[in-house]
Amino acid sequence: MIGGAFRYEFLQAYRLRSELVNPVVFFVMVCAMFPLALGSNAQLLAPLASGIVWVAAVLATMLSLDQMFRQDFDDGILEQMELSEVPFYQIVAFKILAHWCLTGLPLVILSPLLAMMLYMPAESYLSLIIGLLIGTPILSLIGAIGAALTVKIRRGNIVLALLVMPLYVPILIFGSTAPLMAAEGIVPAAQLLWLAAILVLMATIAPLAAALSLRVNIYGS
């Protein structure tokens, strides 16, 4: 059942390839906006690069959150999953994992390219990639709670953003300061370890909270 749920997600994504690509295109476009707005001065952009990439990653993830549960909720598949003998939170956890593989991971893979376009110093690359690798799953996990809470709301996108964005602040802070530390020659172990700690915490809480929220929405009370 678990493997089936996982395969189902990928099959769904494969059949809607254009939706799969959208967050990635959005990510690249947002990053490209900044040099156009701020001027293409390398000296100006280099210290801002990590912040720009992180903000773009957060926005791109947020854009994709709304679709995490909505379609399955609308056509009743989620209800059938809830009724199956597999604990619901496990299915939800795998859905979140699939969401990260399909939206978070492509952002991580693309990030060095964008960092290069924004003149990020060479010493910062590793901490940016590691930070995104730990940080984007947290974005999917926290986002899953928001997506589950707003699954019943028509045009819930803006409510979802309002709800989730304040909770993204710590990840944004830790993630975007790590490359700055690295640029100054300091190993940003503290930031990355903090991100890892938050990831462990959220991986424990978020599937349970999201499953509970979905159940509240499925049964109406």
């Binding site: 819930g156 530390m181 009370s221």
Partner: protein, 249 residues
């Protein structure tokens, strides 16, 4: 221990009848305390030797900032109570307290900005405390918009309660991250004045204002909870009886 007294408070009817007199008392007391505190603090408390008269906004800023945090804490506890024991009154408290909490947080932010101009020379600093209060304000707004957006009332109550609990888990992390980020970037030129060893005649009106603010919150919450209870129980016999006695029907 006998828990009957606790269970009784979960009944909307009991709550409504027992708080009838309480509301007036809270209103009366907070009126007295806020008046005394404001007049004492703004007119009679001694002037700060460094900040002059501008420090007097302390008597509004500090109580509102502390109250804003307490309200969020109370909301989270109440949300947990509502989810675990399925007590509707607890959910009502969360829904009713959220807009009050948001406005008190906004008051703390605005008075802080007004205080910041004469003392720091700027309206806004990305200082740790200011930033985390701002984010707390955003969390309040997110919770309110979630509650407003869901049509079914039961679903909305539970979803709001879950959002509150997720928010309270995140609040320490946010505080910590902001504190830390602040020490990385912000030179220590601006700092919230560390609790000065105040003169007694200076902090006593502050304490009065603080108690007054808490009572004001209790007063507002009770009024709003009572009207919400009346609306939700409008089909029950005791509400009709109450309204008939009041000569409304």
């Amino acid at each position: 221990m006998n828990w009957v007294w606790f269970h009784k408070w979960a009944s909307p009817k009991w709550f409504f009848q027992k708080t009838d007199a309480l509301v007036l008392w809270f209103g009366f007391l907070c009126l007295i305390l806020l008046t005394v505190g404001t007049v004492w603090g703004l007119a009679f408390a001694p002037e700060d030797f460094k900040q002059g008269n501008s420090f007097r906004i302390f008597y509004i800023h500090v109580p509102s900032a502390i109250l804003a945090q307490s309200i969020f804490m109370a909301m989270a506890i109440s949300a947990a109570v509502g989810l675990i024991w399925r007590i509707k009154l607890a959910h009502i408290f969360v829904e009713v307290a959220a807009p009050i909490g948001a406005s008190i947080t906004l008051l703390a932010l605005l008075t802080g900005a007004i205080w910041g101009k004469p003392t720091w020379g700027t309206w806004w600093v990305w200082d740790a405390r200011l930033t985390s209060t701002l984010i707390q304000f955003f969390i309040y707004l997110g919770i309110i918009s979630l509650y407003q957006a869901i049509e079914n009332r039961d679903t909305a109550s539970k979803a709001t309660a879950i959002a509150c609990l997720v928010g309270i888990v995140n609040l320490p992390i946010i505080k910590f991250s902001v504190n830390w980020w602040n020490t990385l970037h912000q030179p220590a030129t601006f700092k919230l004045t560390e609790a000065p060893s105040m003169a007694t005649e200076m902090w006593v009106p502050g304490l009065i204002m603080m108690i007054g603010f808490y009572l004001f919150f209790a007063y507002l919450v009770l009024i709003r909870m009572r009207s919400e209870v009346l609306e939700r129980e409008k089909r029950s016999a005791w509400v009709r009886e109450y309204l008939e006695k009041k000569d409304v029907l």
